[in-house]
């Protein structure tokens, strides 16, 4: 009886069967890497704004405190976006002829707010409150990164749930003394875990990992 298949089919079928395992594993691995990549999370990707506002210049060069603009961060869930008036406190005098500031002056003149593009956005099914974090010793830079080094604002974290849970499961890794919350230069001490543990007790930090803590 004539052969149906060529001899090479033997090799081909072996390669197919063994290769399938690696192909499937490779595809799954690639999907896992893709969903964690900046392409999906936008981590470290600068966001284009109507005015190229530089946190680096305002925080680092000028030494302006976070709360000068984000006024409600200590008392509200939302840190607050400054109205154009806040800009105009200085810019009614400074760089009044600069072309990049034209949208700011236009906003001040017409009383229409500048439409900033959101950088750190959580989904609507996540309940998040800035005030509790700030008042329990979670510093700005812990989540937002070295804002004083960012010419254009970008996400410093993936904002994925695993990132939230990393701290919620063990806050001692990240908490700092309350007087250091707004510091741009604070670095975790060598004994962060022990110091953090003490702060967790002192500030009565409950590491909440119930679903309904965030998904209310």
């Amino acid at each position: 009886m004539a052969q149906i298949f060529h001899r090479s089919t033997n090799t081909l079928s072996r390669v197919t069967i063994f290769g399938a395992v690696f192909i499937v594993a490779g595809i799954l691995g690639a999907v896992g890497i893709f969903v964690r990549s900046p392409y999906v999370t936008r981590e470290g990707v600068p966001v284009v704004q109507p005015v190229p506002f530089s946190h680096k210049h305002h925080v680092n060069d000028d030494g302006i405190d976070c709360r000068y603009c984000h006024t409600s961060v200590e008392v509200s869930s939302f840190a607050g976006m400054p109205p154009t008036e806040t800009c105009m406190n200085c810019h009614s005098q400074l760089f009044t002829t600069s072309p990049v500031l034209v949208p700011v002056f236009a906003s001040a003149r017409t009383d229409m707010p500048i439409q900033w593009n959101r950088v750190n956005q959580l989904p609507d099914f996540v309940y998040f409150d800035h005030s509790i974090h700030v008042n329990k010793g979670v510093g700005c830079t812990t989540c937002h990164g070295q804002v004083d080094q960012m010419p254009l604002m970008m996400r410093a974290a993936s904002l994925q749930m695993t990132w939230c849970l990393d701290c919620h499961r063990d806050p001692a890794k990240y908490v700092r003394p309350l007087d250091q919350v707004f510091s741009m230069t604070w670095q975790p001490p060598a004994d962060q875990l022990e110091a953090g543990k003490k702060l967790v007790t002192e500030y009565h930090i409950e590491s909440k990992t119930n679903c309904s803590t965030c998904h209310r």
């Binding site: 149906i4 298949f5 994925q160 749930m161 695993t162 939230c164």
Partner: protein, 462 residues
């Protein structure tokens, strides 16, 4: 015939006069020689029903589970009933192919192949329902424990996750067992096919089977290993399905009798489905020589025994509701027997307990038509039983103010009947494309039971 009625257990498992050649010829010709008109008619009907399932599921995905009759308090109804029913039906296939193989029951040989196919298709139908029942079915993959970006694992304390593992394992092991068993037959079909495409298809699937001594030795080893692997699944899968109920605290669900009672019910309904398929199939393809009255008799006996265990389960439930002294348990039984769904309870009692008692009579066990009617009724009864358990308990639990009734919608029925269509359409495709009886094992059986006939045939130059 009268002899067979006297004692079919002693009659041979293959009618006399068969040789290797004639066995192979008879079984492979169903696949390789044309399609009878009846096949087209049957397949067309089932295919249309399967398309109805497609419509029902598509509309379900667009509109959500609100198209079904479910609502609080009866949030589980047809979907879970169908799930338990289908997965139960699969159990007979595994029992026949694995446990009866290890017990060396020769009568399993001619029915194991399509019983296993039935298992596969039943599991496929069953696995649809938990997913369809999700509010957001596109997140069904969250049941899989994988390193997700959410940093959480499924709740391993939930029986629904155990279900996922049980059903997946069951599906995979059944598929492997079925496929490994098919390999020698695929080789035979490859060699006997005349059409080039058929040769190629069977050749690829046969994975280079040459029938050498090495091949046979490895085949037997892996087949028995898989049988051993599948054996615990006969008991474990439906045990875990029963935990979906038993772990809950609802009266009528929260009961330790559930695992054995569910397993017995699964085998009961599974054998009923095997008979429902076998009897028309053997008549249509004239396979009475391979699936003899002895086979029917043996399956009827298994059905009778597992039916008695199920009846014992019903009795225990009723007894314990009184013996527990628990008001809610007592009410549950009262409600089941006389409540708004009482008609269903009496139907299940009739179909699952009263009518199967006819199987004590050898005259009934050896009468294909009666057996077919009884097995269909048992299928109905077992479906109703699951509905009584699911809906009855949910509709009236502790607080009368929280009671509510369930009524199925047209979409409930379309989904259920659609899966019947899918199941039988797949069965039709299976019997047309693959040998529904294992040729290799039948040849072994002929060799064992009729050594003289085969020796004579071998000596004769053909």
């Amino acid at each position: 015939m009268s002899e067979q009625i006297r004692n079919p257990s002693h009659s041979p498992v293959v009618a006399p006069g068969y040789t290797f050649r004639t066995v192979t010829e008879k079984i492979s010709s169903i696949v390789l020689k044309g399609t009878p008109r009846g096949w087209y008619v049957g397949f067309a009907i089932c295919f249309l029903l399967a398309m109805m399932l497609l419509v029902a599921v598509t509309y379900l995905f667009i509109a959500g589970v609100g198209i079904w009759g479910i609502n609080v308090p009866v949030a589980w109804a047809f979907a879970i009933t169908n799930f338990v029913w289908w997965i139960g039906i699969g159990h007979a296939g595994t029992l026949i192919s694995a446990i009866l193989l290890l017990l060396r029951q020769t009568w399993r040989t001619s029915i194991n192949r399509f019983a296993e196919a039935m298992t596969l298709f039943a599991v496929a139908c069953a696995a649809l329902f938990p997913i369809l029942h999700l509010g957001r079915p596109y997140f069904a993959y969250w049941l899989i424990p994988y390193p997700s970006a959410m940093g959480v694992w499924p709740n391993f304390r939930s029986p629904l996750v155990w279900d996922f593992f049980a059903v997946t394992t069951y599906g995979l092991v059944s598929l492997m067992f079925w496929y490994v068993g098919l390999i020698p037959d695929l080789g035979t079909l490859r060699d006997r096919a005349h059409n080039t495409w058929a040769k190629m298809a069977y050749g690829l699937l046969a994975m280079g089977w040459r029938g050498s001594a090495y091949h046979w030795q490895r085949y037997h080893k892996s087949y028995f290993l898989l049988a051993a692997l599948a054996t615990p699944l006969v008991v474990s899968v439906h045990t875990i399905v029963s935990f979906d109920f038993a772990v809950a605290i609802l009266p009528g669900w929260h009961s330790t009798i559930f695992p054995p009672y569910f397993v017995a019910g699964a085998i009961f309904s599974g054998f009923a489905m095997v008979l429902t398929i076998t009897i028309p199939l053997r008549a249509f393809y004239h396979l009475e020589d391979f699936v003899t009255v002895r086979h029917l008799n043996a399956m009827a006996k298994v059905m009778l025994v597992s039916g008695l265990v199920v009846a014992y389960g019903y009795m225990t439930e009723i007894f314990l509701s009184w013996y527990s002294g628990n008001t809610f348990e007592e009410f549950l039984t009262q409600n089941r027997v006389f409540g708004p769904y009482a008609a269903l309870f009496w139907v299940l009692l009739l179909c699952n307990v009263v009518i199967p008692q006819a199987l004590w009579l050898r005259r009934v066990r050896t009468n294909a038509l009666l057996l077919f009617i009884i097995s269909v009724l048992i299928n109905v009864g077992m479906w109703v039983e699951r509905l009584v358990i699911v809906v009855g308990s949910l509709s009236r639990d502790y607080l009368p103010s929280a009671w509510g009734m369930f009524a199925p919608t047209a979409w409930d029925w379309a989904t259920f009947i659609g899966t019947l269509g899918l199941f039988f359409a797949l069965m039709f495709l299976f019997i047309r494309l693959l040998p529904m009886i294992s040729m290799a094992e039948m040849r072994e059986l002929v060799q064992e039971t009729q050594p003289h006939a085969t020796a004579e045939a071998a000596a004769k130059p053909e």
